[in-house]
C-alpha cells in the first residue's frame, strides 16, 4: 500500500493554450537539434552518437534529432512506484497525486536572532525526526534537513545526511552526489530494502558535467528512479522571459532523459523545476517571486503532455525569518504549484532561500500542506451533501442547522483545522498571553521531539549502514578529501556518548 498523498479531484489549471504548448514544444526540439547540449561524459557521447545524435567530440556538443527525443519521452513511465524502508510509506508517483517534501537549508536558524548557524548532530537527527512525524511530509529530500552537521568533513556530509535520514525515518529518500558518493547512498538504501532516487543535476545553460552524468547513469544501471533538476536563473543562465526560460529548461532536461532511456529503457524519471527569476538591479535571485509559480505552472502543463512526473521546488522565501512575507511567498507559490498539477512540492522547513531550515518552520508548513491537500479534494456534490431536504426541513429564520444530524456528520470533513494556528477569539487570545502560530508550532515541535518514535533499524541494518559509512570514510581519507585534523574532529563526534543518536 503506497501513501495516497494528496489526490487532485479536478482538472489542473492551464496557463497555456494548446497552441502555445505546441510552439514551446517546437522551440525545445529546435534548440536540442540546432544548438544542442554540452555533455562532458565520453561514455554518454558514445551512447548518444550510436543512437543517431550528431556529436562533436571536440567540444562535447550533442545535437538531438526530434524523432529520438519523442521516442525517449514515450519511454518515460508516466507513473511508477518507489520502494521505501517502511513499506507503508512507499510512493506511487504521477497522475493526479501530489506528494509534499521538505525543503533543505544549509544551516539551522536561531529563533531569537534569526541568524544562521551550523546544526549539531543532535539537531540534524531531531530535524529528521520531526519530518518523520509530520503526516504531510511524504518523503525526504537531498540535503534535508541540513547540508550536514558540525564536525563532519565536507566529503562525508551527504553520506552522514543519508544515514541520519535512514536511521530516523522510513520515508522516501533522495540524496545528492559529490565525488562519487552516490555509490554509497545506493548501497545504504539497498541495505534497508529501500530505493534511493538518484539526482542528475544540470549546470545551465545547456551543460552537464561528468559527475552529473555519471550519477544519472549509475542510478539507471542500478534500476533506481532518477530525478533531473533544472536550476536556472532567468536573466542569468536562461532567457529573462518566462517562455524562453521554459524552452531552455525543457531542452536542458530532455538531454539526459534521452541518454537514460537509451541506456536503460523505462527508467523511472521525475523532473524538478527549481528555477528563479533574477532581480537584475541587485543581482540577487528573486526568491519567493510570483514569476516562479507561472514558470512552474507552464512547466507542469508541458510535462503533463510529455507524461513525465514533475516536482516544483522553488517555493522558497526571500525573508530571513518566519513572518508575513515568508508566509505569502511560500503559500502562494506552493498552492499554485499544487493546482497546476505538481506531483511533488518541496515545502517543509525551509526558512530563507536554501540557506536555513528549521523544524518549527516544518510544523507551520504542515498546516499549509493540510490546506493544500484539502483544497485539492474539492467538493463532494451528492444528494447528501447538497442537503436539499435538510434545507427544506430547517426553513427560514428562526430555523438553524446547529443540532442537525447532518451537521454532526459533515462539519469536520469539510474543513482542514490547522494544528499550529491561532484560532482563538480576541478575549481568549489576550488570556492566552497573545499566543501566535510560532508559539503553537514550538509546543507541537517539543511534543514531537519528546514522544515521536521513528521506525527503528534492525541491529543488522544498523551495522550495515555503519559499515558502509566506515568504508566511505576510509575511501575519502585515502583520496585526500579528509585531512588528519578533520578526521580527528569527526572521530571525536563518533565517539561521543549516544552516537549516532539517542
Amino acid at each position: 500500500m503506497a501513501l495516497t498523498g494528496y489526490p487532485r479531484r479536478f482538472p489542473a489549471l492551464k496557463v497555456l493554450t494548446d497552441e502555445q504548448i505546441e510552439r514551446i514544444h517546437s522551440g525545445v526540439l529546435r534548440v536540442l537539434w540546432t544548438t544542442g547540449v554540452h555533455m562532458e561524459h565520453r561514455g554518454a557521447l558514445d551512447i548518444l552518437a550510436r543512437a543517431g545524435c550528431r556529436v562533436d567530440y571536440d567540444d562535447w556538443r550533442v545535437r538531438y534529432p526530434p524523432a529520438l527525443v519523442e521516442e525517449a519521452l514515450r519511454q518515460c513511465p508516466s507513473s511508477f512506484s518507489i520502494k521505501t524502508r517502511d513499506p507503508s510509506m512507499s510512493l506511487q508517483v504521477g497522475g493526479n497525486c501530489l506528494y509534499m517534501l521538505p525543503f533543505p537549508g544549509h544551516h539551522t536558524v536561531d529563533l531569537d536572532t534569526w541568524e544562521p548557524r551550523h546544526p549539531t548532530r543532535k539537531e540534524f537527527y531531531d530535524g529528521v525526526k520531526v519530518l518523520d512525524a509530520l503526516e504531510s511530509v511524504h518523503g525526504l529530500w537531498s540535503y534535508t534537513p541540513y547540508f550536514g552537521f558540525e564536525g563532519v568533513p565536507p566529503s562525508m556530509c551527504l553520506l552522514e545526511s543519508m544515514a541520519g535520514k535512514i536511521r530516523n525515518s522510513g520515508k522516501f529518500l533522495t540524496e545528492g552526489y559529490s565525488k562519487g558518493s552516490e555509490q554509497y547512498t545506493i548501497r545504504m538504501a539497498q541495505a534497508v530494502g529501500a530505493e534511493v532516487c538518484v539526482p542528475c543535476l544540470l549546470s545551465p545553460p545547456l551543460t552537464y558535467y561528468e559527475d552529473a552524468i555519471a550519477a544519472g547513469l549509475r542510478g539507471a544501471e542500478a534500476g533506481l528512479p532518477v530525478r533531473i533538476s533544472e536550476g536556472a536563473v532567468y536573466g542569468g543562465t536562461a532567457p529573462a522571459s518566462i517562455a524562453g526560460a521554459l524552452v531552455s529548461a525543457c531542452a536542458n532536461l530532455i538531454a539526459p532523459i534521452v541518454l537514460l532511456q537509451l541506456h536503460r529503457p523505462g527508467t523511472r524519471i521525475f523532473l524538478n523545476d527549481f528555477t528563479f527569476p533574477q532581480n537584475m538591479t541587485t543581482g540577487a535571485p528573486g526568491f519567493g517571486n510570483i514569476a516562479i509559480a507561472l514558470h512552474s505552472a507552464a512547466f507542469n502543463q508541458i510535462w503533463r503532455r510529455y507524461g513525465v512526473p514533475v516536482c516544483n521546488g522553488a517555493a522558497v522565501p526571500g525573508s530571513k525569518r518566519i513572518d508575513f512575507q515568508s508566509g505569502y511567498e511560500r503559500a502562494m507559490n506552493a498552492v499554485l504549484f499544487a493546482v497546476s498539477g505538481a506531483n511533488f512540492i518541496l515545502l517543509h522547513g525551509g526558512v530563507a532561500a536554501e540557506l536555513t531550515h528549521h523544524p518549527l518552520q516544518a510544523i507551520l508548513d504542515d498546516d499549509i500542506s493540510g490546506m493544500i491537500g484539502r483544497f485539492l479534494e474539492g467538493i463532494e456534490v451528492s444528494d447528501d451533501s447538497l442537503a436539499l431536504d435538510v434545507i427544506e426541513a430547517v426553513g427560514p429564520v428562526p430555523g438553524h442547522f446547529l443540532s442537525s444530524q447532518h451537521t454532526r456528520k459533515w462539519w469536520r470533513a469539510e474543513q482542514y483545522v490547522p494544528k499550529a494556528a491561532d484560532r482563538l477569539t480576541y478575549p481568549e487570545w489576550l488570556k492566552s498571553g497573545k499566543k501566535d502560530c510560532l508559539a503553537y508550532a514550538r509546543e507541537r515541535m517539543e511534543d514531537i521531539l519528546a514522544h515521536h518514535k521513528p521506525p527503528a533499524l534492525t541491529a543488522s541494518q544498523e551495522e550495515e549502514i555503519e559499515r558502509i559509512l566506515e568504508e566511505a570514510r576510509a575511501h575519502y581519507a585515502k583520496e585526500g578529501l579528509i585531512t588528519a585534523d578533520e578526521m580527528e574532529t569527526y572521530r571525536r563526534g563518533m565517539n561521543a556518548p549516544g552516537y549516532p543518536y539517542e
Binding site: T35, I242, Y328
Partner: protein, 502 residues
Amino acid sequence: MAMRGFVRNFPPLNILSEEDVESVHRGMLRVLWTTGVRIEHKRGLDVLESAGCKVDRDTNRVHMPPALVEECIRRAPSSFSWRAKDPAKSLTMGGNTLYFAPAPGQHTIDLDTFEPRPATRKEYYDAVRVLDYLPTLHFFTTYTPYFGYAGVPPCMGMLESLAARLRNSSKAVVVGHSYNSERFAIQIAQALGIEVMGTCTAAPPLTYFEDAIDSAFSLSEAGMPVRITGAPVMGASAPATLAGSLVSNLVEVMSALVLVQTIRPGTRTMLLDFAMPMNMSTGAPAFGNVAVCIHISAFNQVCRRYGIPTYNADGYPGSKRPDYQSAYEKSFRAIFTGLSGGSSRPLHGGVYGELSHSPLQAVLDDDIAGMVGRYLEGMSVTDETLALDLIEQVGPVPGHFLGQAHTRKWWKQEQYIPKSSDKLTYPEWLQSGKKSCIDYARERMEDIIATHRPMPLTDRQEDDLERILEDAREHYRKTGRISSDEMTAYRAALVSGGPTSA
C-alpha cells in the same frame, strides 16, 4: 477610462464538473420553489407576487418559479461600469477582471501590542488616504477601513465612513444599510455626481428583513448598482457541507436578485459569497479556514455560468497579527478568487476576522495583490519571448544571459517585485539591522500618509456632502437614534485632530 484591475489571461480553475454545476443549479431552483424564502416586506411581497411568485402572506414566505428565476438571471448584466468620484477610477465589473477592496475591521490595532482599539477620526482619514494611494486597491467596500471612529454614534457610522472616503479618496465606494442610511448615501451620491453601490443583505437561513429590502428598493429605483449578500455560517445558518451551503447561499442571493430585477430590469447586481465554516467543538467561526477557498471557487464557477459578477467576502484571517499564519490565510483566499474567476474581493488591511484593520497591513497586502495580479496576467509566448535565437547565440556554459538586450527588456515585466519585502542577502540584511517586511511596510505607510494628496472634493461637493450629513444627523436625533450626550461627543469628535482631508 476606467481602472483596469487585474485581468486573467487564461481559463479559470474549475473545481466542479459541469454535472456538479447542474446539480447545484437545480438544487437552487428547487429550494427557491419548494422551500421558498421569507421576506419581511409588504411591498416586496406585492412586487414578487405580481411577477408570478407564490406568496403566503401569513408566513411571508415567497416561492419563486424556476422560469422567473432564469429570466431574472438573464436580466442581470454580465458586466457593468460603476462611476467613481474620479472618472479615471471608475470600474468595469465582470468578465476576466479582478478588483480588490479593503477588508473591514471594527477597530484599529496598536502596532506594538497588536491589541484592538477604536480608531480616532484622524486615524480613520489617514487609513483612507493610504488605501486611496495603493495601486492594487480598486474600491472601498462597506465598513472599510473601520466600522466608524471614536465618538460617532452607531447610526451615523456608515455615513461618516462614506464621507471620509469621498473626502480622502477618489475610488468607487460601496455603502451598507442601517436604519435606512442608504437613503442619505444615495442623496450624497446624486449630489456629488457619483454612483454608490449599495447592499441588500440576507439573514440566513433564507430570510430578508425589512431594512434589507428597503435598501434594495431605494437602490434599484435610484438606478444604483446593488450588491446582494448571503452569509451562511456552515453548520449554523446553512448546512455544514460545502455543497449544501453553496446552494443555500445561492438561494439567498438569487431571491433578492429576482426582486431587484423585477423592480428595475437590468439593475447592475453583484453577488456576494460569504460562507463561514464553524468549529463545532468550540462554537467559534473558523476564520482563515481553507473550506472558504473551496466555497468561493465553486460559487464563482456557478456565477460564471450565470454571467453575474461576484464578490468573495471572506478575506479574514484567524491570526491576530500580520504573521506567517495570516499571510498564508490571506494568500490562499486572494489567489483562489483570482483563479476561479471571482470579480472582486476584500484583502487589504484586515488583520483579524472583521474585528481589526490596519493601514500597515494594507501596505503589506498591496504586495499580495500585486503577486496575484501578475500571476493572472499569465505569460506571453511569442518569437521574442521564446528567444530561440538568443539561446542559440548564448549556447552552453560559459554562455550567459546577463547584459543581453533581451534580458534588460524583459526581466522586470516577467516578475512582480514586492514593495515592502526583505530582498537582501544575509550580509546586507545583518547590516540593515535585520529589517523585516513590517519595517519596510511601516516606512512606506508613513511616507504615504506624509505625502499622498487625495483628489479633493470641489467646494460645492463639500457643501452638499456636509449639508446631507447634517440632515442625517438631524433625522437620527429626531428619531431618537442619537441621544443628546452622544451628539455632544459626536460634535467634539468631528473637530478633533484638525482637518484631515487634503
